[in-house]
Every structure is written in structure tokens, then in C-alpha cells.
């Protein structure tokens, strides 16, 4: 009996705690009229690309706030791939009466979609590779409900062209990815189509943890492939720092779908500029929260994948001449930039 009583008492105290506290994130930068817009951002896991997006979103929102004289009260959390936690974080956002939610990566976007079915809080997703395939929007042009956002859809064929441009004799390409990653599924399928159409052999090497990826890379080196391709795969992203030296020593270039891979030592990152993606996401969120735009009519924004980021250190180790490579890639890229190996983008700026 005593224990039950103690328990009931603690529930009441818990409720009181919840009433008493309100999220105390960095105080909203209130300028001028002091209209406050509450934003809830949730990230899926910690990795360079996703973090880059979040940083840019927050920075851009602050800018917009300054321009428009509005204060953005941003709550940020990271669920570390825990589904239950994700639900609780989102429910926390709703309890705080956020005006808009931003979900980074597909699982978060899907959970937010489910949670806002009834209350209609607008959801802006960032970095979802295939919004239509994931059921988040009805079509890219007209999402049709309260969910819209930015997509880092990867133009796989373009990356393949870069591979053949750099090495016209390429015979065997390794497809390195995590079969459990939603972001890789469509891209790998397109890659296979392209390679089949062009008569280039390929092999699939997969891993679900950093250890398994390392083993997969050892296997592909032993198989003597000419190049490796990875789409925007979070697992391989986490493993890049562990594998890039092995690939450098074996003389195998690693072509990837995001510049954060190149940051961590891959030969080439080709695809979306995640900083730009972050900025656009913030723009979209602001226009919905402030400008009265409706998510149902706001088209999902994709990005011209044209930016190639080459890691000069790796380039050298692989025996390529940087200028020759740039010339070979020029027809296929809108922009070529170089980068050196580091742990975060801050170090190389």
C-alpha cells in the first residue's frame, strides 16, 4: 500500500515538473516586434552530412529572423535511431505547441507525418532521398498534405559518367552500401540499371555496422575492383574514416553521393550541397511559418546535383593528376571544388 501511495505521489510530482518547466533553449533572438515562431527540429543520427544540414538550418533561420524581425524559438533533439524516443520527442514538440516541425532523414519525417495527421502542424523534411517512394508526398510538385521539404535525390547516372570519364577502361565497380539504409535503395537500383546498360560488371558489398563495412571493403580490395560507388548512405558515411586509407593504399577511387564522404577521405563526393540543402529547408520552413505558404502546394525542392568535391590528398595518393581529372569531369559538373581530409567542415573552412 505504502508503495502504491508513494508511486501515485510521484506521478503527481512528475506532472507538476512537466508543467513547471518549459524548454529553455538559447533565448530566442527577439528583435523588433517580438513575434515568436516555435520550431521543433529532430535529427535521426549523428553524422557529418545530417549535422551539416541542421547547422545550416539553424543559421539560416537566425538570419531570416533578423531580416523579418521575428524570433525563431528552436528546439533541437536527436533520437539516435530509437523509435520510441522519436515518438516521445515529437510528442514533446506538440506539447510545446510548435508552429512547425523539421525532420531530418526519412524515419523522422515519417514519424512526424503520422503524429501530425490530426493536428495539421506543418512538417518540413530535409534530406529524404525518395519522398514519393516513402509515401510522404503524393507527388514532388504537389505534396497534397501538411508535409513537404527538400530532397537529396541523387542523380546516380551522373556519378557513373564521372567514373567512366576518369577511367574509360573501367571493368568492375563495387557497389558499397548498407542494405538497411532507405537512402541507398533507389540509388543502387539505378546504378545497376546504368551499369547493365553499359556492360560494366559490378559486385555488391554491404555492411550494417562500421566493422562489417570494413570487412566488405577488404573483400572488394581482394576482388580487385577498379572503382567503388556509394550513394548517400549514412552507415558508409559513418565508416568512411575507417576505410579511406585502405582504399587509398589499394589505389581504388571511392565515388560517393555527398561531399561529406570526400571530407572524410573519399576520392569524390558528387551530389547535393548539403549546406545549400539546409539553407533551402530553412527558407521553406520560414515561408510556411511566416509567409502563409501551404505545405500541400509547396513543391518538394530537389537540387541540381552538379557539385563535385574532390579530395586532393586522396587524389594524389591514387596517382591521379588533379587538373586532368578536373578537365575530365568538367562536362558533367556545374561546379568542381577541392577539399582535404578532416573531421568536420569547420576544420576546412
Amino acid at each position: 500500500m505504502k508503495k502504491i501511495f508513494a508511486f501515485v505521489l510521484s506521478i503527481i510530482m512528475a506532472a507538476a515538473c512537466m508543467a513547471a518547466c518549459s524548454p529553455s533553449n538559447p533565448a530566442p533572438t527577439s528583435d523588433a516586434d517580438g513575434k515568436t515562431v516555435k520550431v521543433g527540429i529532430c535529427n535521426y543520427v549523428d553524422d557529418a552530412s545530417l549535422n551539416q544540414i541542421v547547422e545550416n538550418i539553424q543559421a539560416r533561420l537566425k538570419e531570416i529572423g533578423g531580416e523579418k524581425g521575428v524570433a525563431f524559438d528552436v528546439s533541437y533533439d536527436n533520437c539516435n535511431a530509437d523509435a520510441n524516443l522519436l515518438t516521445q520527442i515529437i510528442s514533446n514538440f506538440i506539447a510545446d505547441d510548435v508552429d512547425i516541425m523539421i525532420g531530418v532523414a526519412t524515419p523522422v519525417a515519417m514519424a512526424m507525418q503520422a503524429a501530425t495527421e490530426d493536428n495539421g502542424i506543418p512538417v518540413v523534411f530535409a534530406a529524404v532521398s525518395d519522398p514519393v517512394g516513402a509515401g510522404l508526398v503524393e507527388s514532388m510538385e504537389a505534396p497534397g498534405s501538411n508535409v513537404t521539404g527538400t530532397s537529396d535525390y541523387l542523380d546516380t547516372a551522373a556519378v557513373m559518367q564521372l567514373i567512366t570519364a576518369a577511367d574509360p577502361d573501367v571493368k568492375n565497380i563495387a557497389l558499397l552500401y548498407d542494405i538497411g539504409q532507405d537512402s541507398s535503395t533507389a540509388a543502387i537500383a539505378h546504378a545497376k540499371e546504368y551499369l547493365d546498360a553499359n556492360g560494366i560488371a559490378y559486385g555488391e558489398y554491404t555492411g550494417t555496422t562500421v566493422d562489417e563495412v570494413t570487412l566488405a571493403v577488404q573483400a572488394l580490395i581482394a576482388d580487385g575492383v577498379d572503382a567503388v560507388f556509394t550513394p548517400t548512405d549514412n552507415t558508409i558515411m559513418k565508416s568512411e574514416l575507417s576505410i579511406y586509407e585502405m582504399l587509398q593504399e589499394a589505389g581504388i577511387p571511392h565515388y560517393t553521393g555527398a561531399d561529406s564522404f570526400a571530407l572524410n577521405g573519399a576520392f569524390l563526393g558528387y551530389g547535393v550541397d548539403y549546406a545549400a540543402l539546409g539553407v533551402e529547408t530553412a527558407n521553406m520552413a520560414a515561408s510556411i511559418a511566416l509567409g502563409g505558404a501551404k505545405p500541400a502546394d509547396t513543391a518538394v525542392k530537389t537540387f541540381d546535383n552538379g557539385c563535385a568535391t574532390i579530395n586532393t590528398e586522396t587524389c594524389e595518393k591514387l596517382g591521379f593528376n588533379y587538373d586532368e581529372i578536373c578537365k575530365a569531369f568538367e562536362p558533367f559538373c556545374t561546379k568542381i571544388q577541392s577539399i582535404v581530409t578532416a573531421e568536420s567542415f569547420d576544420e576546412v573552412k
Binding site: K3, I4, F7, I11, A14, A15, C17, M18, A19, A20, C21, S22, P23, S24, N25, D77, N78, C79, N80, A81, D82, A83, N84, L85, L86, T87, Q88, I89, S91, N92, I94, A95, D96, D97, T106, P107, M110, A111, Q113, A114, A115, D118, A134, G135, L136, I179, G180, Q181, D182, T185, T208
Partner: protein
Amino acid sequence: MGLDQILALLQTALELGLISSLTVLALFLSYSMLNVCDLSTDGCFTLGAVVGAAVAISGHPYLSIPAAMLAGVASGFITAILQTKMGVNSLLAGIIVNTGLYSVNIAIMGGSSILNMNKADTVFTAVKSALAKINLSEQYKLAVAAAAVVIIAVLLGLFLKTRLGLAIRATGDNPDMVRSSSINPVFTTIIGLCVANSFTALSGCLLAQAQKSVNIDIGGGMVTIALASLLIGNVFLGKKKMPLRIAGMVLGAFVFRLVYTIALRFNMPAFMLKLVSSVIVVAAISIPYIKQQLPLIKRRLESRKREGNANA
């Protein structure tokens, strides 16, 4: 912060707590009763989620529940056979099945790693429309979760009083005695693990349908959370009779979620929550233990003081 919002938060904690309490009940059966540490829980939870989602997406929301439970039975059966007939140690058997289930789960998802049920009918949506008539549609998740838990808990309580249930309890307590009573402990272990895993799979199925999506990580860490909830529940109602013990399990799961909710309100970053849950479990177990030891500690301190005075 208004009462509405507190209630909403409590409701989410209760919904999640109820759904995961099914796994806690499963572990209650396999760990507390049968004395088997079943490490296949994570994989089985995901299996239930994936099978339930696949069946719901193909248009049969109600069938998803028995389908998920049957999948759980199959998983439990294999785990049981490994440890009773194939000479594999019970911890290892759970790990082996867990690893194998990863591949099976991805295969069921058709090679992709995420399934979206937003457009599909689920058990929850069906109940939602039914409840709309009596104006309780906000509570539909709670209703389904509560109904599931009540049914399973009652069935479990009744089951544990039957001859088979007693035999399963005895198997974890004293397998020799089970043999002397002319019952085959292999049989009871198999039944016990099958039933327990069917609960776990049901739990996964409900979570997936409640959040309308499934991804391969959905079961990650479930066994730890469930064991922690089990221990918390034990602290409150561990020594009572069976029906109260079962209620204690559900309570433990809810308390666990509640702790997370409070921590999130205090703005604790999500990665700290695992540390918080460890602290809670330690507190739940050690505080009563230390309270028990307190008289002895006091006596030791006093005697030391007396010795100190005598020597001074």
C-alpha cells in the same frame, strides 16, 4: 503549461508504456518464470513489426495481429529448439536467432529498410473511426493498446495457474522436480518461449502500426528497456501474488516511459536518456536494498564510535 498538454504527454507515455509492456510481460514469462535470458527479443520485436506491417499494407489490418503473433511463435520455437535439442547454450541461442532474424526481417520488407503505412488501414485506424462515434477518437491509440495489454495480461495470469503454467514456472525454479512430476522440461521450455515471443511480436506489431512506419532498427535496445521495466516493476509489486506481479510489469513499463518524458521536459538531450534510465534502474533496486541494510549500518557505525571512545 496547461493541463491539456500535461495530459497529452502522460497519454503518449502511457501509450508507449502499454505497448512496450507486452514485451515486458514476455520477458516476465521467459526470464522471471522460465529463467531463460532470451536475447532474441530485439529481433523478434522487429519481426512482429515487419510482419504486421506487411500484412496491413497488403490490405488486412486485423489479420496482422495473429500473423505477427504466429511469427513470434515461430521465432520462439527456434530459440527453444536450439537450446533444448541442439545443445546450444541459452544465451547463445538467443543471440543466434537475433542475428538470423535481421536478414529475415529485411527479406520480409522486400529488401528495403522502411515501410510506410500512412495510407494503409491499421488496427488503430479502424478503432479510431469506431471511437469517433462516441467522441473519444483522440484516445484511439490508448484504447487499442490498453485493450491488448488487458487481454494479454489476463490470459497470462490465467495461464500461469493452469497445470502447464505451473509446470513452466517450476521449470525455471527446479527442473529436477519437473522431471520427477513426470513432465518433460523440454516441452515446457518450448511452450514458454513460444508464448513469450508471441507477446514480443505483438508488441512490435502494435508499435509499428501506431507510428505508421517500420524500419529495421525499430527493435533495437528493446531487451534492455524491457528488462529495466521488469526490474522497476519488481521493486513495486514483486513480492505479491501473481495478478499484482503482472500489473507491476505494466506499471514498470509506464514508469520507464514517464522518466523519459520528464527528462525530455527538463531539456535533457536525447543521448543522455540512456544514462538516466540506468540511474533509475539502479535507484529502483538499490534504494530498497540499502534501506534494508540501514539498521545494520547504523549498528556498525555506533559500535565503531564506541570503540573510538573507549580507545580515546
